[in-house]
Amino acid sequence: MADMTANRESVTVTTYRESVAEGIAREMRRDPTVVCLGEDIGAAEGVFKTTVGLFKEFGPRRVWDTPISEQAIVGAAMGAAMTGLRPVAEIMFSDFLACCWDYLANEIPKVRYMTGGQLSVPLVVRTANGGGLGFGAQHSQAVENWAFTVPGLKVVAPSTPADVVGLMASAIRSDDPVVFFEHKGLFASKGPAAPPDHVVPLGEAAVVRSGTDVTLVALASTVPVALAAAEALAAEGVSVEVIDLRCLVPLDMRTVLESVQRTSRLVIVEENPYQGGWGGTVASIVADEGFELLDAPIRRVAAACVPLPFADALEDQVIPTVSTVTEAVRRLAAY
């Protein structure tokens, strides 16, 4: 009973990548109306191998390979969602959301509202998001903010394998449309596997490290960056609380504001360019509702406002790193 080591070892470790397929598979097992569609997701098991095993287990009536037709993929998913299915559509790289943006911006999020509640669109659009892999300007963007500008979409961006499974469960079960951002840079990362029936509700941020001096708000790929920075700063005597937002919509501002109440200092870490980033919205809410809690300026560490360059050495200049985050927090703690 007291053998902690044994207990610790019994926690299975898995990858973020495998958790995507696992999360989808669990829902496909429990609900026959869940179907998948996308480019090369079937026999080929996905270019990122995030649909491994699905075609084999569920066959061609549940897992559909499509042409290169992003509008047809998401548009068909919408039509299917209105008529009794729960489609999970893959858009291979999140940059390609631009090729079916009409569905994400104008159709899916609005149809319930503009029909006075007559129609529901319970679907998930999953997509590989973000940079850090040297894929260049058109295959590396963190585009959660495109979705964040559009009321009516739930926006999910997990940072750990277990959260991938737990949030996928909530996303697929949701009667609201969900855009599910899987981070390319995290696919190979490891963590404890999700327990059976693991469900993480949409809209609940996680305090992934407690601290008292500065609150660090992060999302997806910036969570491990923030945690590494926090670790480095702990050695310097700066106590950093790290919040993993997990979702942009619903946005869990309560957790952020409660943390700022404790720390009085806020740094937001975004992978996306500073201009138009979600951190602006978070900052503006804190600068309004949390103004009196603040003892220092709010800082945003975001990507430079440039397209993403190919070369690693250049990409590193653009996207926040552990050292830029550490430095920003250090300076703010000293304010």
Binding site: W64, A76, G84, V111, R112, L119
Partner: protein
């Protein structure tokens, strides 16, 4: 199959609803915009009569006729246009988004071409659920030049889905003749071979012709024969939207098409069939009464409740996006 006289009556009700909408717009009682379908009635009424209640219909911003053909009442449609609480979409949609989901009329979409992939998805869903429902997308000639058209037809063909693509070719995209911006003469039908699909150009003003063509295509779809492209040639009686006087259309063309008014054609056929003039007149009078009553009811209905602005974003009815 419904008697022609009943189809006639339905068309007459749509026609008068459109006339009422125009009058109410000019009287300032309808805000925003309208795209009237007067002239297109035979497409909606003919097609609907060939479809089953459980089939799916998707329409455009020019969709009043499809909503009414599927069973929406003129009253709930006009109430919607007049921003009334009793509007079919609670006055949140307006003219461009009439929807009657409980009759499987799954919406009117105002981004040209956007609903074609949706219809493909509904057909896919029907197949997966093992029903033999079909899905129908109605769209304009102008929609044939947008990317979503291409993607939808290819996917539907590859997956051999039970979906009908019905083009209402009224010769114009807004103010521009479709021929001047389209590389082929029949914008929908001439594209069908690019997807290996059968196509037919039909008289969209003859309600029986439309019904027959749609019935055949629907049967083929139910039998697993896949999609069909139908191009129904028709003409709108009003301008493109609102107060557009449609000056860009040659007088001769307008005259010729007005002579082929779907109501006129149906009436001629009825007389041919020996239906007495008085019976037709009675149907016209009935349509008149229905729409007059609808106008009255819509006018006296309560205005939309401003609090409705904050409902129906999410499935739980709320609009809450943050804690």
């Amino acid at each position: 199959m419904t008697d022609l006289i009943d189809l006639y009556e339905r068309m007459a009700i749509i026609r008068r609803t459109e006339k009422a909408a125009q009058d109410l717009f000019l009287a300032g009682l309808i805000k925003g915009t309208t795209h009237l379908a007067a002239g297109h009635e035979a497409v909606a009424v003919g097609a609907n009569d060939a479809l089953r209640a459980d089939d799916y219909v998707f329409a455009t911003y020019r969709g009043h006729h499809h909503a009414i053909a599927r069973g929406a009442t003129p009253e709930e449609c006009l109430a919607e246009l007049m921003s009334k609480a009793t509007g079919i979409c609670k006055a949140k949609g307006g003219s461009m988004h009439l929807t009657k989901a409980d009759a499987n009329m799954l919406g009117s979409y105002a981004i040209v071409g956007s609903h074609l992939p949706m219809a493909v998805g509904a057909a896919w869903s029907a197949t997966l659920r093992g029903t033999d429902q079909v899905a129908v997308a109605f769209f304009g000639d102008g929609a044939t030049n947008i990317g979503a058209f291409h993607e939808a037809l290819n996917l539907a063909a590859v997956w051999r889905l039970p979906v009908l693509f019905v083009c209402e070719n009224n010769l114009y995209m807004e103010y521009t003749p479709i021929g001047s911006v389209t590389a082929v003469a029949n914008p929908a039908a001439d594209r069908a071979p690019a997807y290996g699909l059968p196509a037919e150009v039909i008289d969209g003003n003859d309600v029986l012709v439309v019904r027959d063509a749609v019935a055949r295509a629907a049967q083929r779809a139910r039998d697993g024969g896949g999609p069909t492209v139908l191009e129904a040639r028709t003409y709108r009686h009003y301008g493109h939207s609102r107060t557009d006087p449609a000056k860009y259309r040659p007088e001769d063309e307008v005259r010729q098409w007005l002579e082929r008014d779907p109501l006129t054609l149906a009436r001629a056929k009825l007389l041919e069939q020996g239906v007495p003039e008085e019976e037709i007149a009675e149907r016209d009078a009935h349509a008149e009464r229905v729409v007059a009553a609808a106008v009255d009811a819509a006018k006296s209905a309560p205005d939309a409740d401003p609090r409705e602005a904050f409902t129906d974003v999410w499935a739980d009815g709320s609009a809450t996006w943050r804690t």
